[in-house]
């Protein structure tokens, strides 16, 4: 059995902790991996270097943990590395950087035109299987955008990885200022300042599952529509962002043949909801040809185009970076735990990092309004369910809302469901704490505690709580909250994913 983050199951070479100097030739890339819980310090000595499009400063020390990344140089550079052993490292002489920066140049042309004509800037959709380097490309395009004084809106629809938030979320964030090299993207607002890199303001939605294709993608699509609405509101107010456009990262599973038609349906929805104008396909020829067939040279859904300028969709393929090593599930799980921990505690060991102090409290469960997502969390009335896998994808115990207006209609025919619930029901009220909730992540939604099912589903997130303990006998629950004070009187959703993290409060 593998221990997450310790890399014991990985046969890769392991370096000892000592200072080593690296000389990187022009157009080369140093790829490295730091395990969860390990830290390295990197200092640029000479030349120029960048991490996913964002420049390193000579002489500054950068600290990395739980990272797979690459230092690239356009001109050649020397840097030194100290600290814990690396999980892996190597120098790549072949990189797709010149393709990636060309995409940036092409986008810049479109942004100039958007600015000149009061149109919307390019809306770029990045597609590809898991580990094809989609989020690296998203970072690179965002980093270069900032170097060109743009402020694009970065949309993370890849629910497996959190951007500016924990995994399981969608986020929309405008990047006007520098990205945080150490944090990957940046850090969400705190009660005080954040060192040398300004904080960014994400809008967060909680999907609560790693699989967008669940329930034929209906929940995912509904939330995307809601997000699209908020974004169109923002773009109407924010000319700079409107001209800079959108950069959209997506889950790899959308393009997987295992996901099937649902994945492509979701892509279709994304293309239309966000009026996508450019589709970038990474690492799959089949995907590229499918996307060309579907979208290339089709008119965009943009509302801001002009008659003289009929905007059409461009579908292009880019070379996948050789550095995109498959990340196994153990790594990903440890990484998720690290992201959740950083949400509550910050990461004070980073040079830009800050130690945050979440508040621990025990509350009477009856003062909270907790909704469990029916299909993905254990039914409290079923004794067998605790500790079991709640993963069965075939179990249609709920249909997402919006299909029927009244809850009266049909009942699911699922054999596993012993209590028949109305078809439209997504969440079920949890009236008492139970052991399965321990170590779970709860999302506090920006809606009334007793809101309609669809309202809860479509609401943005206010923040997350962590269940440190439950006391069934006294009906009490112990929570870790980022902010002191009473837990807000809002709907609280328990979706079951990201999975429970052990001992986040004891560190």
């Amino acid at each position: 059995m593998s221990l997450p983050g310790l890399g014991l199951d990985e046969p890769e070479e392991v370096h000892t902790a000592e200072t080593s100097q690296h000389d990187l030739a022009k157009d080369n890339e140093w790829r490295f991996e730091v395990a969860v819980g390990k830290y390295i310090q990197l200092k640029l000595l000479r030349g120029t270097a960048e991490l996913f499009g964002t420049e390193l400063v000579i002489g500054n020390t950068y600290t990395f943990t739980a990272t797979k990344a690459a230092i690239y140089t356009w001109h050649g550079c020397s840097f030194e590395v100290r600290g814990d052993a690396l999980q892996s490292e190597y120098i790549a002489e072949e990189t797709p950087m010149s393709e990636y920066i060309n995409v940036h140049f092409a986008l810049e042309t479109l942004r100039d035109q958007a600015k000149a004509h009061g149109r919307q800037g390019p809306r770029v959709l990045i597609l590809g299987p898991d580990n094809a380097g989609k989020s690296s490309l998203a970072k690179i395009l965002t980093g270069y955008s900032n170097r060109s004084s743009r402020s694009p809106l970065v949309l993370n629809l890849d629910v497996k990885e959190g951007v500016m938030s924990i995994p399981g979320t969608f986020t929309a964030t405008v990047f006007k200022t520098l990205m945080d090299i150490e944090e990957g993207w940046g850090t969400a607002p705190m009660s005080g300042p954040n060192g040398a890199i300004p904080v960014k303001l994400p809008l967060v939605y909680f999907y609560g599952s790693p699989r967008p294709e669940e329930k034929e993608g209906k929940v995912y699509k509904a939330q995307i529509r809601r997000l699209a609405l908020a974004i169109s509101g923002r773009l109407a107010n924010d000319a700079e962002t409107r001209e800079s456009g959108l950069i959209i990262d997506t889950p790899g599973s959308l393009t997987s043949s295992k996901t099937g038609q649902v994945g492509y349906d979701i892509i279709q929805d994304i293309v239309s909801e966000f009026a996508v104008s450019t589709i970038i396909c990474l690492g799959s020829e089949r995907l590229y040809s499918d996307m060309v067939k579907r979208f290339d040279r089709q008119p965009t859904v943009s509302r801001s185009t002009t008659a003289g300028h009929a905007e059409t969709i461009s579908v292009i393929k880019l070379t996948k970076s050789g550095g995109c090593v498959d990340r196994d599930e153990a790594y990903m799980q440890a990484f998720r735990a690290a992201q959740i921990k950083a949400y509550f505690y910050g990461n004070p060991r980073l040079s830009n990092g800050i130690s945050l102090q979440p508040r621990q409290q025990q509350v009477d469960f009856s003062t909270l309004t907790v909704w469990r997502r029916i299909s993905s969390t254990p039914d409290p009335s079923s004794s067998a369910s605790v500790g079991a896998s709640f993963d069965d994808e075939d179990e249609e115990t709920f249909l997402p809302g919006g299909m029927t207006d009244d809850a009266s209609g049909t009942y699911p025919g699922g054999s596993s469901s012993k209590v028949a619930l109305p078809a439209s029901q997504i969440y079920e009220r949890v009236s008492a704490p139970y052991a399965a909730m321990r170590n779970a992540i709860l999302a506090v939604m920006n809606c009334e505690a007793e809101a309609e099912q669809e309202t809860i589903r479509d609401s943005s997130v206010m923040g997350f709580l962590y269940v440190t303990d439950t006391d069934e006998a006294r009906g009490r629950i112990s929570l870790l909250s980022p902010v002191a004070g009473r837990v807000p009187a809002r709907a609280i959703v328990w979706a079951g994913w990201p999975e429970p993290v052990l001992g986040i409060d004891r560190s």
């Binding site: 009061g118 300042p193 954040n194 859904v301 008659a307 461009s314 102090q357 943005s460 009473r486």
Partner: protein, 648 residues
Amino acid sequence: MSGLPSDEVAEDYKGSLEDLVTNDRYQISNLTLIAKENIEHAEAISRVLQNHINRAPPARKLPALYVLDSIAKNVGSPYTVYFGRNLHQIFMLAYSQVDAPVRRKLEEMLKTWREPVPGSLSPTPVFPHASTQSIVDSLNKFRSPMPAATRYQSPHIQPTPARALVDPRYRHTPTPPQSFPPLASGLASNTRSPGLQPEIPQPPYTQTPPPSFSQPYPPQATPLYQQQPPAPTTQYHTPTLQPGPISSGGVDLQKLHLDIDDLTTDAKIECATHPMDAGARRKLASLQTLKEILDSGNASERDLVDIRNTIMQKMAEKMAEPHQPPGQTAIPPIPTANTYVPQTSIQQPAATTSAATSLFNSTNLAELLRATVGQQQARQQPNYYAHAQSGVATPISASTAPSATSENPLLAQLRASGLLSAAPTPPQGVAHSMPGFAAFATDPVGEVSLTSASIRIPRPHLVATLLSAWPNQCSTCGRRFTSDEGGKAKKARHLDWHFKTKARMLEAEKRGQNRSWYVDEREWIASKEFEDDAGPVDATGVPINGATMVAKKKAQDFVRVPADPVLRSLPCPIDQEPFKSEWSEDVQDFIWKDAVQVGGRYYHASCYTEVTKGREKDGVLTPVGGIGRMATPDSVLGKRKAEVRLTA
């Protein structure tokens, strides 16, 4: 035709409406047909449609309203009666929620509602004026002088002369008339004699500062109707819809030369008077390029026809704008969307094409081009194209396709600059193979196009330019600045920001920091990211870190938009941001949210609170809101913050 109960029809109709995501002509036609065939359920269908329009997210409002438009024009009564009852509410609610380009489309549609039904001999308008007049009044009220523009120009907002323009019918309206013609006179201008127009078109919006330093245009700031450009002849009031490829013969080269020279002079003036306007510079460059092509003498006939056709298209669009979607005069040679186009009563059969063509040919090129200069930024043209004569169930006509044949690279540049239409006129019968963005490939700004092939070619010179454009680097964070005086000043402010942030960090460390709650949708939509050195400052002059809320909304913090156009045009004295008008169904008036009136001036409520209460801040300022800031009992955020304060 159906014997179904109304409920079922309605439910069905609702379902179909929910599938309507885009401006799809076939879906809209289909929905119109269903409405026609189920006319006995008109009331139920009307209700469902109205509810749908009211509830649809902004992005879907326009298609939904097009359904209403199509039914009103193609089916008519009793639908018009049902729609008419709530027309004002439906229209204004939608109008207040959509962005400026869509608003313009709504305005265009509204105008057609006040005209006779297309193709009908009866002079009765689509909707009785009684149903539309209140909308017109509300819209006229809504239009306030463009604050962004007025800040940069001499005060031409003088209420007194403005009154002179106003149709006497509107004298009784509660809001004094604005400095530009209200809707009614905009409509009337259709029939104005061209002789009365100024020599050179200078509608108010041409004084708008170039976008490079203007604020985002508040949607309401755009004049409701573009003033009519000077029409060389009155015939242009009925432009034709088919520019079509024109036979290659008969391009008068000498005249083209003269016209280009003339235009170049104009463009030079434009550049000199608007030095920041990249669009004007590009236009000038384009004209000079065009001149080169002509001088070189190796432009093909097709190229010349191309140029002339484009100009004719642009002119025709311009002429057509007040009457109908401009796209109707220009069928772009790109595979077109099946988009719905509201019908207008002035559509002409294609038979008049040749007559119009000769008119276009006789038009002074300079006039035509001049008229197009400077308008691009000022307005957005609708995105739909006309291939519909009836608007309903007409099969889409085969659209021409871009050609793969190579063309003059200079011409390609012109296309990229927007002076020529986005794709070349194809020789008939050539297959589609031009990638969608090829038109931009040769834009002088960038040579990379979004094609897999173009992306593959390394561009070291572009990389060098990008990496060396900002040589002055901050040694703390790596942010780069230009090496000129402006860049140095910026960097000095930036370093100051680093210094102050560091001091605050030390202080914050003592108190302990925690993660804040995320913002909600409203706060996020209203927020704006600032560069570290350019954002708002807190009470002690310390810039607030990164993202900051600009418009905190509190339910009670609104004012009715002041009637006085001068007051209305003034920005908030604190942050110099203009106010944004929106229609409030509750108040039945246009309001400014987040605004207070203090001593005769209007302030953003949030700005005012910040300035007046800032001193009681405890020194730890959150980037979002801030503890103690805006902590009112009825604001969700405020309540939360208040709680934090009590328990912290």
